[in-house]
């Protein structure tokens, strides 16, 4: 057997994985009526649709970055925190952010898929068959690559194309190693962190102390991805730092900078177009850059090879092994049903990094932007605007929670449907969790900006005025998803199997959450108080409109 057989086997396994991801029958959901061949084809189509959605988002990121590259010549006259940067430095910073975000996004989507991949059991089914070790290893590796094929191809193809289009062919070719490294690292990181979290987080025992430890692990896990997001948010500051470092001439700081991924690769297009003089690189600096790039490419290539071996081992190993346990605590503390749903979701999220990411991200975002206001002067308009931006971001991020928390409900959906739990309690529990995260994020920003922004009352009013819109957006999204689930028995399990619907419901959610923010922006030029009042009224009207739609969901549990 060779690569051809491995490719064929990985195709069969991928169909099985798609079927399980879409119909979630391992979680007890019923397969819809119809010939198995058609169901399998439909499942594959749906997974491919979701991969296309992820790939399109990545393509848009690359296109957006290249729009920024287009204007690089015009930024020469614009100071960033008092520092003028050259077009080449600007281009390098944009490409650094692009490569970082591409890697983070691929990594994060990979983490959504890995629990499904591990739970599917597709590899243990193959293991007893008379397939030689090499072919089985290749099939496992190819199966893993199939999960990422379209998004990875989008990064590998569109990034060099867009860069070539805006900066020239040499620059396009120069960015290729960077994209290869970003994809290789993302795939390896997804597997490494996936394995770590399956063991240390999913496999963690119950109990208050361990729950806190799990959340601490999850915060640690989010930090790298968050740092990359922060890089984009703090772009002007980053530009200023890079500009100053380049101005310094040959220095340890500059040599360090060119050795840091992904700056090393992002600098290559500028170097390809303008030569080492563009960053004032001396021989030592150039050597460091070349060696760093070669090392990163080597690590990326090794990562891919390591993946091909480790994927099989990971897919076969029992993910969790019960440890010797201390005496059990049988005390149960029942809660009100809606609170029980909220508690259950938080407990599940604490063992599933993909969901935990959504809970932690807005909070970290609030901390980062809150701290960033310290750049602006005390009481300045800039600081106030930044603080409002942090709350607005938290509100808009909340629109992704509906699909995510619905996805938690799909776990053991069949069992849940046999309990006397009306859908409105489930929806209320999830909306309460969304509100909690939003208020926590808002509270953090308020606390951090209190010494800088001297309008705490106004700021608190802004947070409160937006709250009904956040509730309305979540209610609308959950209402759509529950109605859809009732009508079609549709489970939405993860980003790949349900990305299409997650995007579909997030759009109206974003409109509902965003409308009061837009109203504020329009009216704030006149009077901030009036703008906040109008914002609150719009948000309340949205809540009144959305609540009956969602809380009136009737179905198996309510009828």
């Amino acid at each position: 057997m060779g690569w051809r057989d491995a490719w064929w086997i990985s195709g069969v396994a991928f169909t099985e994985l798609s079927l399980q991801a879409i119909y979630a029958f391992r979680q007890g959901n019923l397969l819809p009526a119809g010939p198995a061949r058609e169901l399998a084809a439909k499942a594959r189509r749906r997974v491919i649709q979701s991969k296309i959605v992820v790939a399109v988002v990545l393509g848009l990121l690359a296109a957006g970055a290249c729009l920024l590259l287009e204007i690089s010549a015009r930024v020469v006259g614009t100071p960033f925190f008092g520092v003028f940067v050259s077009p080449e430095v600007f281009q390098t910073c944009v490409l650094t952010a692009l490569l970082a975000v591409e890697m983070a996004f691929l990594w994060w989507t990979g983490l959504q898929v890995i629990p499904t991949y591990l739970a599917s059991g597709v590899l243990p089914v193959l293991e007893p068959l008379p397939i030689d070790d090499a072919t089985l290893g290749r099939a496992a590796g190819l199966l893993y690559l199939r999960l990422f094929d379209l998004p990875a191809a989008m990064v590998l193809i569109t990034t060099p194309l867009f860069v070539a289009w805006t900066l020239g062919l040499a620059a396009g070719l120069a960015v290729v190693p960077g994209t290869v490294a970003a994809v290789g690292f993302a795939l390896a990181l997804a597997l490494i962190t996936g394995r770590f979290f399956v063991r240390r987080v999913q496999g963690s025992r119950g109990g208050g102390g361990r729950t806190a430890l799990r959340w601490a692990y999850l915060v640690l896990w989010v930090l790298p991805a968050f740092a990359m997001f922060g890089l984009v948010v703090a772009a002007p500051g980053f530009l200023a730092i890079v500009g100053r470092t380049v101005e310094l001439g040959p220095s340890a700081a500059r040599d360090g900078l060119v050795a840091i991924f992904p700056f090393t690769f992002a600098a290559l297009p500028a170097l390809a177009n303008a030569g080492p003089g563009v960053f004032g690189l001396d021989r030592a600096g150039t050597t460091i850059l070349v060696v760093a790039a070669a090392v990163y490419v080597g690590i990326a290539a090794w990562s891919i090879l390591w993946l091909m071996v480790s994927v099989r081992r990971l897919g076969l190993a029992p993910p969790l092994v019960p440890a010797e346990a201390p005496a059990a605590r049988y005390t149960l503390a029942p809660e009100r049903p809606a609170v029980a749903v909220l508690t259950k979701d938080l407990r599940i999220a604490s063992r599933m990094p993909g969901y935990a990411f959504l809970v932690i991200f807005p909070i970290l975002d609030a901390v980062a932007i809150g701290l960033f206001t310290f750049v602006a002067g005390p009481g300045s308009t800039g600081a106030f605007d930044l603080a409002l931006a942090a709350v607005s971001t938290a509100a808009l991020l909340a629109t992704f929670f509906g699909p995510a928390f619905f996805a938690i409900e799909v776990l053991a959906y069949s069992y849940g449907r046999t309990l006397p739990l009306p859908d409105r309690f489930i929806i209320l529990g999830k909306v309460a969790l969304v509100a909690l995260i939003y208020l926590l994020a808002g509270g953090i920003v308020l606390g951090l900006t209190l010494p800088r922004v001297f309008l705490p009352g106004l700021f608190a009013a802004f947070i409160a005025a937006e709250l009904p819109a956040v509730l309305a957006a979540s209610l609308l999204e959950l209402g759509i998803l529950f109605r859809r689930a009732r009508a079609k028995g549709l489970p939405i399990v993860n980003l790949y199997s349900g990305g299409y619907y997650a995007v579909f419901v997030a759009i109206p959610g974003a409109v509902v959450a965003g409308l009061p923010l837009v109203a504020y922006r329009i009216l704030a030029a006149g009077s901030t108080s009036v703008a906040i009042a109008a914002m609150g009224l719009i948000a309340l009207a949205e809540l009144v409109a959305c609540a009956p739609f969602s809380l009136g969901v009737r179905g198996g549990r309510d009828a």
Binding site: Q27, G28, L30, A33, G34, A119, Q202, G203, S204, R205, G206, G207, P319, L320, V321, P322, A323, E324, A325, A327, A328, R329, Y330, T331, L332, A333, P334, E335, R336, P337, V339, A340, T343, K344, R347, I348, R351, M352, L411, A412, S414, Y415, R417, T418, L419, P420, L421, P422, G556, R557, D558, A559
Partner: protein
């Protein structure tokens, strides 16, 4: 029974002309039977006979195409909440929140069932100790064996002491000790006033030991129903085992010898 404490009708379960279709496939065909108060009713059938579809109709997982399912007089479709409050269900497969521990899962079920902390804790402790779950009570369900998951599901079904227990192949994956405990639990359970148990299995020995009456389901149709004695009489099977009676009534004994002989050369 004079009083009906669990609903308008004292009969735990009444199924009338139940038909379940998946697309064009007929899974259950005009099925009718009832589980009386104080009775363990065994639903027997080969794989694909329609047992699980019948049970899923009772617990609200499958909507009947025709016919009705009533639990203590409550319609399982139109009054699903009232029905679910009165039913404890053990599914055929281990459908659980894998990211929760047994304690967290039972806490969620107790909350949904609106049990107070004292009652819920006392019951979970009794059952967990009986099933020897102490070592696994704080482990994520994902790490547990099938048998342990089954025990967790059984405890979840018993936690609110429902007047009707619906068990779909509940003894699958259980160790012999737990099977014995389960049999004891069920026997004592129906001894309490007004309660009933519906028990699906294809293990004839278990059904023979446990069930007061059995219904034999074959390709979605109820072929026979009654006590073991009544079924023996109907099958003209003398003092044959339930397995013999089952094979005769479903005509699955036809060609059995040929099938076994055909395997000899394999």
């Amino acid at each position: 029974m004079a009083s009906a404490p669990f609903g308008p009708d004292p009969t735990p379960l009444t199924i009338d002309a139940l038909t379940v279709m998946y697309g064009e496939h007929l899974a259950v065909d005009r099925l009718g039977f009832s589980v009386r108060a104080g009775e363990i009713y065994g639903l027997l059938g080969s794989n694909g006979a329609g047992k699980s579809s019948t049970i899923k109709s009772i617990v609200g997982l499958v909507r009947p195409t025709h016919g009705s399912v009533r639990v203590f007089g409550f319609d399982a479709v139109r009054q699903s909440l009232a029905t679910k409050e009165r039913v404890g269900y053990v599914p055929e497969t281990s459908l659980l929140y894998e990211a929760l521990t047994p304690r967290e899962f039972l806490e969620f079920v107790a909350s949904v069932r609106r049990l107070d902390a004292t009652t819920a804790s006392a019951r979970s402790k009794s059952y967990a100790e009986a099933f020897r779950l102490e070592g696994e009570f704080e482990e994520p369900i994902a790490s547990l064996s099938n048998g342990t998951r089954q025990k967790v599901l059984i405890i979840a079904a018993l936690l609110h002491q429902p007047p009707l227990l619906v068990l779909d192949e509940p003894l699958n994956s259980l160790d012999p000790r737990s099977v014995r405990i389960m049999k004891e639990v069920l026997a004592r359970y129906v001894a309490s006033s007004g309660r009933g148990v519906l028990f699906s299995t294809h293990t004839m020995e278990v059904a023979q030991q446990l069930c007061h009456r059995v219904g034999i389901l074959d390709r979605g149709v109820l072929r026979a129903e009654g006590t073991l004695a009544a079924l023996r009489e109907r099958a003209a099977a003398g003092d044959a085992s339930l397995e013999e009676v089952f094979l005769r009534l479903t005509r699955e004994d036809e060609g059995l010898d040929l099938a076994v002989r055909a395997l000899e050369g394999v």
